[in-house]
């Protein structure tokens, strides 16, 4: 209930109640500056997170989790070796399905290059085996060694697999971005708490006089909370705006691939920085409220 009143008072503003707390220039500037700096950093952490996430998604899509085995063998052995490979694949962990392409499918694949009347049986065209891997993926090195030992004519082609560590790195980067955001938020809360405590200590006499003339704790706390919330909101607004501007002004390198050019916001994600000032204000609201009520409890 008092919380609701706090929020209403915050939105409405109460110039008379604001006057009961003297202006403390230093803590005011400190709060605004810290909020601004933190909001600036938060924009970068946010951009990093979103960009890393986009990169990871794009690479994961390209990977498509498929590979191919090409088998070249004398005509007489080809069926037996195909069966051998399928057996090996069935025993390999991380492989979802494996399937030898039929003659018709191979012909369809080659048709664009050689025309429809390809005498497939007379040509030394390798047999293709299509592999779909599971999300965990398979051990390519182990598979390759086993194929070399048991079916020397088979070649594992997994051209996209090299990207997997990059995807892991991008995922990790996204996580680090979010962790940074949480740390920034926590630091903001800590610093605003310190600033609020300093202001409250400086105004000990004000608190005592207010209590003695019959002010309720929530009333007194509100005056401080309003002050600090406004400062944090203003500071974070400026910081977030500058951070967003800095990102917008990042020079664009190549359109595709280059990681640095991907650091930024795209489309609707430009709206994300808008969440930072309210978040800073909410942090200041709670930090100041808790600090004020705790301080007041030490007074009768």
């Amino acid at each position: 209930m008092t919380l609701l009143l706090d929020l209403i008072a915050l939105l409405k503003g109460d110039t008379q109640a604001d006057r009961i707390v003297p202006r403390t220039g230093q803590t005011a500037r400190l709060t605004a500056a810290v909020s601004g700096a933190m909001a600036f950093l938060a924009v970068f952490a946010l951009a990093l997170s979103l960009a890393a996430g986009r990169l990871a998604d794009r690479w994961a899509e390209a990977l498509a989790q498929s590979a191919t085995i090409r088998l070249s063998a004398p005509e007489a052995e080809i069926e037996a070796q195909t069966q051998a490979i399928l057996t090996i694949l069935a025993q390999t962990p991380g492989i979802a399905t494996a399937r030898a392409l039929s003659d018709d499918e191979q012909r369809a694949l080659l048709e664009p290059w050689f025309g429809p009347d390809l005498p497939l049986a007379d040509l030394p065209v390798p047999r293709l085996i299509e592999i779909k891997e599971t999300a965990e993926g398979f051990d390519a090195l182990g598979l390759r060694q086993r194929l070399a030992a048991e079916t020397p004519g088979a070649v594992l082609d997994d051209h996209t697999r090299w990207r997997r560590p990059l995807i892991d790195a991008a995922d990790r980067l996204r996580l680090l971005g979010w962790v940074s955001l949480i740390l920034i938020l926590g630091s903001t809360a800590a610093m605003i708490t310190l600033a609020a405590q300093a202001a409250l200590a400086l105004n000990q006499q004000v608190l005592r006089v207010l209590r003695l003339v019959g002010a309720r704790d929530s009333y007194i706390a509100r005056a401080f909370v309003r002050r600090f919330t406004h400062r944090a909101l203003t500071g974070a607004g400026v910081g977030a705006a500058l951070g967003t501007l800095a990102i917008a002004l990042l020079p664009r390198a190549a359109d595709e691939g280059a990681f640095l050019s991907g650091l930024g916001f795209q489309g609707a994600s430009w709206l994300w920085p808008l969440t930072i000032p309210p978040l800073a204000a909410a942090t200041a609201f709670w930090a100041t409220r808790i600090a004020a009520l705790r301080r007041l409890r030490g007074l009768r």
């Binding site: 008379q16 109640a17 006057r19 009961i20 003297p22 202006r23 006499q205 004000v206 005592r208 006089v209 207010l210 209590r211 003695l212 003339v213 019959g214 002010a215 309720r216 704790d217 929530s218 009333y219 007194i220 007041l296 409890r297 009768r300």
Partner: protein, 225 residues
Amino acid sequence: MIEMQDAAYGYGATPILSDMTLRLAPGSFHFLTGPSGAGKTTLLKLCYAELLATAGTITLFGQDANGLDRDAIARTRQRIGVVHQDCEFLDHLPVSENIALPLVVAGRDSADQDSNLKELIAWVGLSGRAHARPPELSGGERQRAALARAIIMDPDVILADEPTGNVDWDMSLRLLNLLCELNRMGKTIVIATHDLALIRAAKAQVQARVLRIADGRLTAAGTNL
């Protein structure tokens, strides 16, 4: 409205007051006297719940003071006007806003109180000083500003702790006259003072009881001062 039954208080282990039994009837006028350090300020603090009795009971407007939560204490203080011994103000606000402060914090501030405020400031003789800051006031002006702040909420009880503490005799009489006038308007008054001349001066104007604190106990002082 304020009652004490065998109330006691001590800062830490040392008892300051014990066996305090007292009833402040509506419209009564009490002097609280005793040597410096006897516990007059302590007793008044018990009356507005800045201190809580360590034994016995203190009843404020029918409620046990020890059972009041912080909001209830605030509401109780809105009904008791206190002139504190070291009358502290908000030094960054002008005198007039300091006097209006109890109204503001009680959420009762509005334009129609404005003429009341002006009248009150004139009554305590501070019209010319309304825009001054508290640190610019003389001792007597501070005491009168504190008195005005104590009565702005039109409380039934007024507790004044050494209201003539650091003012000259003329100003003391002026403050006493204001308090006597308030009593004639029906207010319950308690004045803590070690100044016996002030008590004698009051006897001509009001029917006052004199209580004396000595050795941590409350006794009714004889009329022969």
